[in-house]
């Protein structure tokens, strides 16, 4: 137990410190790198609670793909952060409102489980014991049986978003050369090479 607590405080401290540094760092690329460190420690916290599948998916999806694109964009854009800072206070009320909502939700969730700790067992699909069932299997069972329609709808929403993004950025340019692989592969010596008999001293 002591070891778990030690690692909990390590991950939690680094997560909070690096989240703080995301806002504090002057260089936007450093901010994104600290954000990645925060994700990493969040994955560590998931591992400590026994949610190994979620931890790995957090790494694959957020750190391995989403944050790479973040980093990509931030490196390519030339953002003047001093200028952004000067107008940052205008957005403070909205930020504060979002913060209050999130804090209230956290209080409701955590307060609920503190007041009645057995609430986890009374829900429709009780959480299985980590020791008896790997949580990959448990999650798969729930997602593909009870919640299969919601799961499919979520996938459909993502598909629509993807098509939308492609449509927005698609442009057809004329007058450029494109490689047609099928044409290239279909070429044969008959269509590609012409054998010409050249008389010496005359040329073609």
């Amino acid at each position: 137990m002591g070891l778990q607590a030690l690692f909990f405080y390590l991950f939690a401290f680094v997560a909070i410190a690096s989240a703080f540094m995301v806002i504090w760092a002057r260089n936007p690329v450093h901010s994104v790198l600290f954000l990645i460190l925060t994700f990493f420690n969040a994955a560590g916290l998931f591992l400590l609670t026994g949610a190994e599948f979620l931890a790995m998916i957090l790494l694959v999806v957020y750190v391995g793909a989403v944050a790479v694109l973040f980093l990509f964009v931030v490196m390519m854009l030339d953002i003047d952060f001093a200028k952004l800072r000067s107008t940052a206070l205008e957005y403070a009320p909205v930020g504060a409102l979002i913060g209050v909502i999130l804090a209230a939700e956290l209080v409701v969730v955590i307060g609920g489980s503190v007041i009645s700790p057995e609430i986890g067992k009374t829900i429709a699909n009780p959480i299985p014991d980590v020791a008896t069932r790997t949580n990959t299997a448990a999650l798969g069972d729930q997602l593909y049986t009870t919640y299969v329609y919601f799961f499919q709808i979520a996938g459909l929403v993502l598909l629509v978003a993807m098509i939308g993004a492609i449509v927005l950025t698609l442009r057809h340019r004329t007058n450029i050369k494109r490689q047609n692989i099928a044409n290239q592969v279909a070429r044969s010596p008959e269509t590609a090479v012409e054998v010409v008999k050249v008389k010496s001293g005359q040329g073609l």
């Binding site: 690329v29 793909a65 990509f72």
Partner: protein, 347 residues
């Protein structure tokens, strides 16, 4: 106190000892893989390759190591110093961290975790950070272009690698790497009534995926013919232009550790890990680790041969191959494999 030692100190000491043993073995293996890479390349081009240091040049890699370590590291004036030095560390640490879950023989694994294959996939998807950070921190044009190319390339090919892994997992029904190997003990060949042999391994039952995985592994580790992030004819050396001495060596080490990992992963997923090719007594008697090393070395030999005789892809061809060829093939295979397993009742 005694209980503290037996619960914490002793297991920790065992784990550190195992890790050190694996690390030393791995580094020596990488040193000889590097030499083999250069020797095979040389042989294809009718050259001798490194042959001066030690008998047949066997100590070349160690001489190179000393050379790198004793050189002066140069940090460009315009570089972002912290990130510049952090990048090679990230690259090499992540490449070595993956090895914690790789089973080298039955039970020879440091951490036998439930989500082993996901862990490998997650950590190898992070390896792109070493390259992006190095390319950006150098504050120079070629490294930055190399880093951008690399990021796009690795993210693209991860998608098809992911689907290939899904097809294997469908056949196995577990994310544990040891289970994946054990499932290949009685696979397709056994179902057709043959004794356990190399026909049980996934390379046969999932043949197109084996090819897709091999080529994606080349692209994922920036090996030729997909070494566009460091294409010397276009970008000099890509993201590594500004690096020299020990930091450069660490990038190199990270790259080769990732390559050896991909060879081992191919062995585990498709070539039956440590299982002997035919079930006869004298082959069963050979330790599993030897089979594992032989198979991984064979896969690396294919990596080296591809490097020696396939010309480099153009960038748009690389992207076309990833998104328009491999992604549809692997997506279709996921569906086909799922249907076959369901209707044959093999799942």
């Amino acid at each position: 106190m005694e209980q503290f030692i037996s619960t914490y100190v002793w297991p920790a000491a065992i784990m550190v000892g195992q890790s050190l043993l694996l690390l030393v073995g791995l580094l020596v293996f990488i040193a000889y893989i590097l030499l083999a890479d250069r020797k095979i390349w040389a042989a294809v081009q009718l050259r001798r390759g490194p042959n001066v240091v030690g008998p047949w040049g066997l100590f070349q890699s160690f001489a190179d190591l000393l050379k790198f370590v004793f050189k002066e590291p140069v940090i460009p004036a315009g570089a972002n110093k912290g990130v510049f030095l952090l990048a090679p560390l990230v690259a090499v640490t992540l490449a070595l961290a993956t090895w914690a879950v790789v089973p080298l023989a039955d039970g020879w694994v440091i951490a036998n975790i439930n989500v082993g294959i996901l862990y490998v996939f997650a950590i190898s998807s992070l390896e792109v950070y070493g390259i992006i950070m190095g390319g950006w921190a150098s504050n120079s044009k070629y490294p930055f272009l190399g880093a951008l190319r690399s990021a796009a390339q690795m993210v693209s090919y991860e998608v098809s690698i992911g689907f290939v892994i899904v097809t294997v997992l469908l056949c196995v029904g577990s994310l544990n790497l040891t289970d994946i190997v054990m499932a290949q003990h009685d696979g397709l060949g056994t179902r057709l009534g043959l004794p356990p042999s190399l026909l049980d391994w996934h390379w046969l039952s999932l043949f197109p995926m084996f090819i897709v995985f091999f080529i994606s592994a080349l692209a994922e580790t920036n090996r030729p013919p997909f070494d566009l992030p460091e294409a010397e004819s276009e970008l000099v050396a890509g993201f590594m232009v500004e690096y020299g001495s020990t930091p450069y060596m660490m990038f190199m080490l990270g790259e080769y550790a990732a390559i050896v990992l991909m060879c081992s992963l191919t062995t585990i997923l498709f070539l039956g890990g440590w299982l002997p090719p035919v079930d006869v007594w004298f082959l069963n008697w050979v330790p599993g680790i030897i089979w594992f090393v032989i198979k991984a070395s064979l896969v690396f030999f294919m990596f080296a041969m591809v490097k020696a005789f396939v010309p480099r892809y153009r960038y748009d061809q690389l992207m076309r191959l990833g998104w328009k060829v491999f992604l549809p093939i692997s997506l279709a295979m996921v569906i086909i494999v799922a249907f076959v397993l369901k209707f044959m009742g093999w799942a």
